[in-house]
């Protein structure tokens, strides 16, 4: 019953989004009369819940979402996306869809760019106000995801605002809570028996974490997923390619293959954007020689690095 209820709400929000998107498209074309936005609190409980999915897809087409996909490996996560520019005159280097939120957490979106920028700002803000300034450490991925999801949920229930028109993928690395030696022992058994489970450590052992957040405020953990345009086919592709115990390098490779399947146009360092969660990138530290300092685990690959991966495909 609870599920059903949530679905209805989604539907309403998506419908609203859809219309909002339509309105904006129309507005830009200026060829059709403007459709007034409907208040998002109006929704029909009689419509079957399935419709929400349809309107989700419809919305993504309208907004020309771009495929975003991620793969979580045993030692990291890949976020990959196509940077689609509407004109050859744009400067691709200034376009950026993948953002760093905390040194260990990165985020990417499908949907409306301006809404995403606002959410990135808010995510960075709450990670400090709700966490860094209280505990002097950065939030674990799930906590940040919950905070961002709260921001998005509140937009569905507040008056005078429309929901955020984006789906997010948030990838991060968490420290585990198990004592070191215990975690090491458990790690050894999995490696020693050559039976990699591919499970990320969860909150006990820590490791890479990947979440999807929807405009409703619902969030889902994934091992690999895609959002945006042709997400369905990308996910089917990922289902075939994903194996347990994937290494980060393989994950980048699979991500590029999946991207290649689903996008038209050339793939090069300028048109592809990749963010990875991997081992600490100490070379990104501003100052050297600080005791106990570790580099950010999240970083974006440079166009040159992307080119290198593409040539190796």
């Amino acid at each position: 019953m609870k599920e059903l209820y949530l679905c209805w709400s989604f539907d309403a929000h998506w419908r609203c989004l859809e219309l909002e998107a339509q309105r904006q498209l129309d507005y830009s074309k200026a060829s059709q009369p403007r459709i007034p936005p409907i208040p998002h609190s109006k929704f029909s409980p009689n419509r079957p819940p399935l419709v929400s999915k349809v309107s989700l897809r419809a919305a993504s087409n309208h907004l020309s979402f771009i495929t975003i996909l991620t793969l979580s490996a045993t030692n990291g996560i890949v976020l990959a996306t196509e940077k689609k520019s509407s004109s050859p005159l744009t400067d691709p280097a200034s376009l950026s869809k993948i953002s760093l939120i905390t040194p260990n957490i990165g985020m990417v979106y499908a949907g409306m760019g301006p809404d995403y920028r606002v959410l990135v700002d808010k995510a960075r803000k709450v990670s400090h106000t709700n966490y860094k300034r209280v505990y002097n450490e950065y939030p674990p991925t799930r906590i940040l995801v919950q905070d961002v999801a709260r921001v998005m949920q509140e937009a569905t229930q507040s008056g005078g605002v429309r929901p955020y028109g984006v789906s997010l993928l948030i990838a991060g690395w968490d420290e585990g809570i198990l004592p070191d030696e215990q975690a090491a022992v458990e790690g050894e058994t999995t490696e020693g028996e050559k039976k990699p489970t591919g499970k990320t450590g969860g909150i006990l052992k820590g490791g890479p974490m990947l979440y999807q957040v929807d405009p409703s405020g619902a969030y889902y953990p994934w091992k690999a997923t895609a959002i945006g345009k042709s997400a369905t086919s990308a996910k089917t592709f990922l289902e075939k390619r994903y194996t347990e115990g994937l290494e980060l390098e393989d994950a980048v490779h699979i991500a590029l293959l999946t991207l290649k399947e689903t996008i038209e146009g050339e793939m090069n360092g300028q048109t592809i954007e990749i963010g990875i969660v991997g081992p600490p990138a100490d070379h990104l530290l501003g100052v050297e020689g600080v005791e106990g300092a570790t580099g950010p685990r999240f970083r974006k690959l440079t166009p040159q690095e992307i080119e290198d991966y593409l040539t190796n495909m």
């Binding site: 300034r133 209280v134 505990y135 002097n136 450490e137 674990p140 906590i143 420290e175 585990g176 809570i177 198990l178 004592p179 070191d180 909150i203």
Partner: protein, 192 residues
């Protein structure tokens, strides 16, 4: 007080109004997890208020994060919570002691009433008898004490110090925190 793979934290039990003793059963050390402890000296009402506040905050942390709070995280929580009251502080000087749940390393630190952290490798003292405690700890403490020796050291230091302070004493609680084990002992002490 830090030992080898263990820490100890102790407090006296007196509650008084200036020179008048009201109660000899007022513990000032509180437990916030398997191996996270907080000692509070200062105004009695704020000792209760602050200990209740952190019980609430730590319980919320545990529910939200589905894990126990680490002493270092807790210390930063104490610091930020006290500094929140920068211009109307709680009149307490807290001490945090515990073992890191991941590495098992001892952790101790102290604070002033507005949350400035004082990290230490050996011992932290606080309260009306802090000067006496400094003297006793400086002379009795040595590195790498085992749990039993650490108990003896902290107990002797505390009892000797409070005996030279008219405003402290009347019994003591001593906690020795080891990995997977916490020992709490009640010292009767002088009741005069």
């Amino acid at each position: 007080m830090v030992g080898k793979d263990c820490v100890a934290i102790a407090c006296d039990l007196r509650l008084g109004l200036q020179a008048l003793t009201v109660s000899n059963n007022f513990p000032k050390v509180f437990q916030y997890g398997d191996n996270v402890f907080l000692g509070l000296t200062g105004l009695a009402t704020d000792v209760s208020t602050v200990s209740d506040l952190f019980r609430y905050k730590v319980n919320m942390y545990r529910l939200r994060e589905e894990r126990a709070i680490a002493p270092s995280t807790f210390a930063n929580l104490v610091s930020s919570s006290l500094y929140e009251r920068r211009f109307g502080p709680y009149f307490v000087s807290p001490v945090v002691a515990g073992l890191d749940p991941k590495t098992g390393a001892p952790f101790i630190c102290g604070f002033d009433s507005i949350g400035c952290i004082d990290f230490a490798k050996d011992f932290i003292v606080s309260g009306t008898a802090s000067e006496q405690l400094f003297g006793m700890c400086e002379s009795l403490w040595e590195p790498n004490l085992g749990p039993e020796d650490l108990f003896e050291t902290i107990s002797q230091a505390l009892l000797s110090a409070v005996d030279r302070d008219a405003l402290s004493g009347w019994g003591a609680h001593v906690y020795v925190i080891e990995k997977n084990k916490v020992t709490k002992r009640l010292l009767k002490g002088r009741q005069d």
